[in-house]
Amino acid sequence: MNRTLAWVGLLARLVTGGVWIVAGALKITEPDASIAAVRAYQLLPSSLAEAVGLALPAVEVVIGLALVLGVLARGAAVLSAVLFLAFVIGIASVWARGIEIDCGCFGGGGADPGASSAYPWEIARDVALLAASVLVAALRRTPLALDSLLFVRRPVPAAGAPEGAEN
């Protein structure tokens, strides 16, 4: 694997994971704001909005931990990419409908007049993080990941190796 690319992958993994941990942790203790933020997108029916508002911060923290520690990093990166794609669609959708809300990305949320001026930058940020997630998923392994300890490839004796050469 290209060494530089591997370290860029590590950086992408740590930055994306760090963003998830912060974003999730800020919301876990503010469930009412989190639910209100999801409702403000006016995309999901009421009961589903409540479930998403409660569960999303928890999922964000776990994806962040998995990325930072490098545990099942590839799967976490794929989930991360899917979520960022969903957020980009969500923000684009409120923008298109002329709804002005705080994206609720890092807590807060709800109606916020004048918020639409922030939409392009929020979308750009999420696209960048989406790209970083895709890179991590594409690289399979990045340096300094716990996965390297958990899933060591033990040498399997080669076919037809003479006895005694196994160890």
């Binding site: 989190s34 409702r39 995309l43 999901l44 009421s46 911060p57 923290v61 998995a66």
Partner: protein
């Protein structure tokens, strides 16, 4: 020769078996590791959701008709009660008003619901003192001119709601004009409206809403439970009217 051959093939077989067994052990270990990690993740997700649920606040509103800081329409012993916490500047409150007012008035007149409107000041920290001026004028009318005039004034405030960007487009003179249109006497209310006579009332109403853990506006409470059934304000309004009819 043939025995040599069979010895060699037995040995090869043994090596192959060992390799297969080791590959199985390896796969098993991998699967167990993945299961363990996923289980740990599920535990963290569960723990975090539990923390969220413990931090979730239920609105504990005083029963409809029992607050000092509201105006009611309808029968006190109607089968349903609705409480609406609102800020005179909040655009969604204006939208909810426009969608529900006629239906709620009809249902209240038919004895099907007791509705209490509880205005308070949510938005002055962000958008200036219009919410305080408007709610103070509402309280003044409630005291000086009675609940019917105050309700009419409340309706006029929402019909002529300023935008959050320009809340001062509704001046004190405009508030006086709405009050007169609602049925108040200008001589009685002008001084109070211009001097924001009921600022204390607004602060107390706001404190009561905060104590009840009202998180935002509009907060609609149907028969004691927060009512949020719907994707948009319009959905919520339609479903509320449906639930009462």
């Amino acid at each position: 020769m043939s025995s040599n051959n069979s010895k060699a093939s037995a040995r090869a077989q043994k090596v192959a078996d060992e390799r297969a067994a080791q590959a199985r052990r390896e796969t098993r270990r991998r699967i167990l590791t993945i299961v363990g990690v996923v289980a740990a993740m599920a535990l963290i997700v569960g723990g975090a959701i539990t923390v969220s649920l413990l931090n979730k606040k239920d609105v504990k509103a005083a029963p409809a008709g029992s607050s000092e800081y509201g105006v009611t329409i309808g029968d006190a012993d109607a089968p349903h009660t609705v409480i609406i916490y609102e800020d005179f500047l909040c655009p969604y409150c204006g939208a909810l008003e426009a969608e529900t007012r006629d239906d709620l008035e009809r249902l209240a007149a038919d004895g099907k619901v007791l509705v209490e409107y509880r205005p308070f000041d949510l938005l002055s920290p962000s958008f200036g003192d219009y919410p305080i001026r408007a709610a103070s004028a509402f309280a003044l009318l409630l005291e000086e001119s009675g609940p019917e005039v105050a309700k009419k004034f409340h309706d006029l405030l929402f019909e002529n709601q300023p935008s959050e960007q320009d809340p001062d487009s509704v001046s004190d003179d405009d508030l006086v004009a709405f009050a007169v249109e609602a049925g108040a006497e200008e001589a009685v209310v002008r001084e109070g409206i211009e001097g924001v006579s009921h600022r204390d009332w607004v602060e107390a109403a706001t404190a009561e809403a905060k104590d009840a853990d009202v998180q935002g506006t509009p907060t609609v409470i149907l028969d004691g439970e927060v009512f949020e059934d719907g994707r948009t304000v319009q959905d919520v309004a339609d479903n509320l009217v449906k639930a009462l009819d």
